[in-house]
Symmetry: C2
Subunit: 326 residues, 2 copies
């Protein structure tokens, strides 16, 4: 198909396109950027575009970035991709970013940081950050930033979940089933979103007992086992996370407790796990969180003032909750 000319040693540049089209390099740039309406005649523009197509020209990103002083790259700061929740956040954010011609790179950052945060200012245009102390961003040149469900004060642009509403629905569901004494298997992580869940539960439930566990099946198992072994064990167990809920489920089995006959269990997130185990849980629209945060960041980058949305978190009732038996 393509004529077998001498194979180009290096990718074609705008200068090559200019030579092919018989115009100057600046003209090529003007045509292809599309930012100079009426600056170039329609026929010349057409010639240029055809030449570019013929040579398979693609602008060199490094040169463009250098010239424009921007990178069209956004940093997503999250603890790990292994957690499906964050994978979903990434997916949503990446979709919006790609549609806008941005690329999204992941910057791994532990929930418990082990040093000051160093933003690679020169390499990025903006950041999406979860679980990071906002003030660790202080620096000579602050980077446009949108926080992910973790903005304590409301100073920075942020996207949050309606945790309060979710906890209201969740407790109402449990109360309606007759539960009064409720356990809280809380994530042992000092993050705002978990603090909110705890305080919302404190406000809603009179007879609450709380234990903490790092997020994992095994740790959830241990903490739940201990709690459920107590003589005054709760009849329902609210877990901060589906993974913890799975651990609790296993602990209940190990103790010979029937779910939901003897014990109701709920989670947060609505991961595949929850579907697999028929777990009643609070669905957190993680992908939507990522998408809206990226939208807000793009607004910010274009000088528009971003929305500060609060996303609804819906209770999904499955088979791990039931009426308390007398």
């Amino acid at each position: 198909m393509t004529p077998a000319g001498p194979a180009p040693a290096s990718p074609p540049t705008s200068k090559d396109v200019a030579a092919e089209a018989g115009v100057s390099q600046s003209t090529v740039s003007m045509v292809l950027s599309g930012k100079w309406p009426g600056r170039v005649s329609a026929s010349t523009a057409q010639t240029v575009r055809e030449a570019a197509e013929r040579l398979g020209y693609r602008p060199n990103p490094a040169a463009r970035n250098l010239r424009l002083g921007r990178t069209r790259t956004i940093l997503l700061v999250i603890p790990t991709l292994t957690a499906p929740f964050f994978a979903a956040v990434y997916t949503g954010a990446a979709r919006v970013a790609n549609e806008a011609g941005f690329s999204l790179v992941i910057f791994p950052w532990p929930i418990i940081p082990d040093g000051p945060f160093r933003v690679p200012h020169e390499a990025i245009d903006g950041m999406l950050a979860s679980s990071m102390a906002e003030d660790s961003l202080a620096g000579p040149r602050p980077v446009p930033l949108v926080m992910l469900d973790s903005d304590p004060e409301g100073t920075a642009p942020a996207v949050n979940f309606d945790i309060e509403g979710a906890v209201r629905d969740l407790t109402a569901h449990l109360f309606a089933l007759g539960h009064r004494r409720i356990g809280h298997l809380a994530a042992a992580i000092d993050a705002w979103t978990f603090q909110r869940r705890a305080s919302a539960l404190d406000a809603a439930v009179e007879d609450l007992v709380r234990v903490f566990a790092p997020i994992a099946i095994s740790t959830g198992y241990e903490a739940a086992y201990e709690l459920l072994s107590r003589p005054d064990r709760p009849t329902a167990l609210v877990c901060d996370d589906d993974t913890l809920a799975v651990g609790a489920h296993k602990a209940a089995s190990a103790l010979g407790l029937n779910v939901p006959g003897d014990l109701s269990i709920t989670g947060f997130d609505d991961l595949v796990l929850a579907e697999a185990l028929d777990l009643t849980t609070v669905h957190l629209p993680a992908e939507e969180l990522g998408a809206q945060a990226m939208t807000a960041l793009l607004d910010l980058l274009q000088g528009r003032s971003p929305a500060r949305p609060v996303l609804p978190a819906e209770l999904v009732v499955r088979r791990s909750t039931g009426r308390v038996e007398l």
Copy 2:
């Protein structure tokens, strides 16, 4: 702490460092690159380094990329991050890449492509690719590439799992438990890794019945339900994936079949799902796959000939397999 000098409008460049140190920009570059031993006196080098530290200088990546014609960026081509398997691959690859000063960006590419693959040659130094037809890479300037468990012929560098060994262990386990008639819930995806699983099973099992399903709990449920409703249903069901195995598990419950009493079920991958449901499965070291593939790619980029490792896949026996009842 820091003296409140006039805030710099833009990040410091090597020229600023040169001025601060009282030398030329070229000297700064020579010192900081470290590639010119003996070219600059020790005392001058020290002065330069101190100046750079004082100003908080970080080389501009765009300028460096432009000058050097490389980007220190690797593309990871995978269908989705939502699948925990690929998230693990990413994690392993990213770790190795970061240690070597490379950054890893994800390029979403469906298993069933909807168009020819366009490599952004100018933006990357190399690629890690899974589930992609190798010849869709054909182009004027091929990009260094390592394939992930999907290399049909062995022409390109690749890292693979020892699927044959895993299937051997798996079938031996089932045979030892007395199973003879075995079902195969196969992934309805035209990917090499699944073809290998199928042919390895064909070779090992005399009495095999196979059904196909897209990878999801619901589709696994449906396909398994149909298979298990047959009068001559198998006593063991080998699933290509843990997710399918979960669907099969649910189908068994719905049909009143006890696992593992009436039916043994196995999966592949060893995701959290498998742990949550006590599923016997083949552990595929996904993170290791990513790490070794990245190592091979870095070898390739440095002109070394990369290893072509085959990673062992270990059978993890849990409680979803048991002795067949007479």
